[in-house]
Subunit: 178 residues, 2 copies
């Protein structure tokens, strides 16, 4: 894409994201503003029990004022290895630990306005353990669903979290390759 | 979730999103800040040709400085019906019109920090027509892929857009119901 950057200003530095506003000029001479939310990214885990059930959590999402069903996930600390983040969040949010954590690829959640990239992992060989939740994660409920139940949840609008839907189809593609 | 809202301030009003910062108090007395990006939402279309191929576009994504493969999609104007947005974006971005546009449900792209909700549609009975692209959409490439090719693209990291992966698995769930 051919354009030149005329100016770039970070207008907000937040806890979860910063906001940068750029002014660009196309080759035609037309100018445009671009707003970008800068986000560190995160890790998403598809935990699969030895019985082939998927482990999800129901958590309160402040921006929506709703409880959503999602795969476990967490934000990356600066320069954190997403593989380590995946293992930590799995245990914090579900109590499970995993024999193996398999990378499935990565996704961009909102490429139109945000840099957020999420790294997706399958967690296999799960063993029960202790939860270690932070305040604000209290009340999280752990829910185990079969593949058939997940498909029914998708059809009936009970599974609306985009990263979880993406992680599920990536796990399906991974399973289909074996 | 039990908390009380202590303060709420819109600290940025942008073209694509606004930013609101809330201060809340939990029942424990602990206080926390919540940053929310307010987004109007949009529509995503899964266009399927009479031959069963999926129509995607490759477009430049400024925040990532990358070209991404995605299903056609567009932002909602204030109070716009997402069904109308879906038909418009289908034609603008791919040139196709559809005999029928079928709702598949909706998704939240980043429920942790943003209100964005996308309404997902399948576009069936496609007929070729004229593109009507806006500046900044120039250079968009239309790409048609079989289901097998999409699965291979997912496995090899060539399809990384979360809304498109979500829309694809929702279409699969819809197809499985018929």
């Amino acid at each position: 894409m051919k354009f030149s950057l005329l100016s770039s200003e970070t207008i907000y530095k937040g806890r979860v994201f910063d906001i940068r506003v750029d002014k660009i000029a196309y080759e035609s001479g037309n100018e445009a503003w671009r707003e970008v939310a800068l986000h560190n990214g995160g890790a998403v885990i598809v935990p699969v029990t030895p019985e082939g059930k998927f482990v999800l959590i129901r958590q309160y999402r402040y921006p929506l004022s709703e409880w959503l069903l999602e795969f476990p996930a967490g934000k990356l600390e600066k320069d954190e290895d997403p593989f380590l983040c995946a293992g930590r969040e799995l245990q914090e949010e579900t109590g499970y630990t995993a024999d193996s954590i398999v990378p499935l690829g990565s996704i961009f959640t909102t490429p139109g306005f945000c840099t957020e990239r999420l790294f997706i992992y399958a967690a296999l060989g799960l063993k029960p353990g202790e939860h270690a939740r932070e305040e604000g994660e209290q009340g999280m409920e752990v829910i185990e669903l079969s593949a058939e139940e997940i498909n029914e949840y998708i059809r009936s609008g009970k599974l609306m979290d985009s990263k979880s839907l993406s992680a599920y189809v990536m796990y399906q593609a991974y399973e289909g390759r074996k």
